[in-house]
Amino acid sequence: MFPSRIWREKGQRYRLEAGKCRTCGYIAFPPRLVCPECGAVEFETIKLPDIGKLLTYTVIRVAPSQFTDEAPYAIGIAELPNGVKLTAQLVDCDVEKIKVGMDVRIEFRRIQTHDTHGVISYGYKFVPKWY
């Protein structure tokens, strides 16, 4: 993957930066130029909380080549306390014991390594909130 594509998203992937609409309060992750709720165009940058609840999940067994080292791996959608929903991998858990509704925490991990030559992309993953 060309480095600019990874670099451009680092505010979101490294720091969970979102855009909060100054008019209606809608939180856009990733940030947008136009509010999908009210059409306003002024946003302030906020940082998303790093905890959430798992809304749904799947365990992927047939994995794209970048992810075969991690298969089987879980992908889930979690809802954060402010209502924002994210898709990410759910790691550090027995995939057989995942439950809808479980509490998760966001951790910083490698997402794709692009074999041994490419730039490494980092970002957020869910882990069970075990403490």
Binding site: T56, V59, I60, R61, P64, F67, I75, I77, L86, V100
Partner: protein, 386 residues
């Protein structure tokens, strides 16, 4: 707006067509459609193709297809809306005829998916999802529909067997379709025990990788009458979009674009879903058929799986769905699917469906629903036999 009818349909056997090229697959289907319509020329054509670029390295394909079809110099365009590209091509052609811009238009769809590895196909298909916020994290298409399936199972109690019932029913229908890629029957047990792809979805919940094309000819009802063909009128066309990222939707268990496209098509037709006799819907995964059947109002919300398990969507059921075998059995060459749905609707409305899959009691109105990505685009068309 002029009244528009479908006067010709064309399709060949779908499958892993190792010996056939991208262009030949399309031209074969188009020639059948032109012959079926009995027209001596077409004025223009629109082709649905999701990603010729990623599958065979070929973009700029509308011009090439026109040339190889023997129609060099006609206006030809390619439209794309992921797996709904075929449905979009049909709508575009419909608008072109209805508006008076052209009289006879070919709407086609084509995809050649087997010239890349399985991993290459997964990559190409995943371009229909949000690259940076879904695919980047390892989401695949079976994975995204699996997320919907788990949410639906949690919320409505949809079961493994209900998912399997959709696959069993579609394979039963597809076994009667000479063009189907996988015309075999299966059982609940076989589906339940097939290879896991993305839990809870197993390989027998998933539509396959397919090479194939389909084409239909649209013209005005007036011209259709002169051609002496059965008049299959396009009475409704609905199109809607939604966020392409699943997580951005308020509800993970409904398909808002499909609901809206269905409402728009029905409104245009002046009908309700109760007036529709049968439908071809986008069962890229078994859960998709269940949720689509709810979002279109065919079955009550939350009951799509139960109704499928009860046989309500079988050939003999209260609302037959996917008489062709659907994407599951017939195959899913993504850009061609939307056109092949129209092909089946016309077959049924003409009373020409083969091998005992023809619906009894002369169906009058059929609906085709074609969807892109995880539901980020949806097209619904309603056809009526005049």
């Amino acid at each position: 707006m002029r009244d528009v009818a479908v006067v010709g349909i064309g399709m060949n056997k779908w499958g892993e067509l190792w010996g056939k090229s991208f262009r030949d697959i399309f031209v074969e289907a188009a020639l059948i459609a032109i012959k079926d319509a009995g027209v001596d020329k077409i004025d223009s054509m629109t082709i649905g193709c999701m990603t010729g670029g990623l599958f065979v390295g070929q973009e700029h394909l509308a011009s090439m297809m026109a040339d190889y079809l023997g129609y060099k110099h006609i206006p030809a365009s390619r439209v794309e809306s992921a797996c709904a590209s075929g449905g979009l091509a049909f709508r575009t052609a419909y608008i072109e005829v209805a508006s008076g811009m052209s009289d006879i238009v070919l709407a086609g769809g084509v995809e050649k998916m087997t010239d890349v590895s399985g991993d290459g196909a997964t990559y190409a298909l995943a371009t229909a999802a949000d690259q940076e916020y879904e695919v980047f994290h390892g989401a695949t298409f079976p994975g995204l529909y699996a997320l919907m399936a788990v949410a639906h199972m949690e919320k409505y109690g949809t079961t493994r067997d209900m998912l399997s019932a959709v696959s069993v029913k579609n394979h039963k229908n597809g076994a009667k379709n000479p063009n189907a890629q996988y015309p075999f029957e299966t059982t609940i047990e076989e589906v339940n025990n097939s290879v896991m792809v993305a839990s809870p979805l197993r390989i027998m919940d998933c539509s396959p990788i397919t090479d194939g094309a389909a084409a239909v000819i649209l013209t005005t009802v007036d011209i259709a009458k002169k051609l002496g063909k059965p008049i299959i009128k396009v009475i409704g066309s609905g199109h809607a979009t939604d966020t392409i990222a699943l997580h951005s939707r308020k509800d993970l268990t409904t398909l808002a674009a499909t609901k809206l496209a269905g409402e728009r098509a029905l409104k245009m037709a002046g009908k309700t879903i109760k007036d529709v006799d049968f439908a071809e819907v986008h069962d890229c995964f078994t859960i998709a058929e269940i949720i689509v059947s709810e979002s279109l109002g065919i079955f009550p919300v939350g009951k799509g799986g139960e109704m499928a398990a009860k046989g309500e969507s079988s050939l003999e059921g209260s609302f037959p769905i996917n008489t062709s075998g659907g994407l599951k059995s017939k195959g899913h060459p993504v850009g061609a699917t939307g056109i092949a749905q129209i092909y089946e609707i016309v077959k049924q409305l003409r009373g020409q469906a083969e091998n005992g899959r023809q619906l009894k009691n002369n169906p009058k109105i059929g609906m085709a629903q074609n969807m892109g990505g995880s539901g980020g685009s949806s097209l619904v068309h309603i056809l009526e036999v005049a």
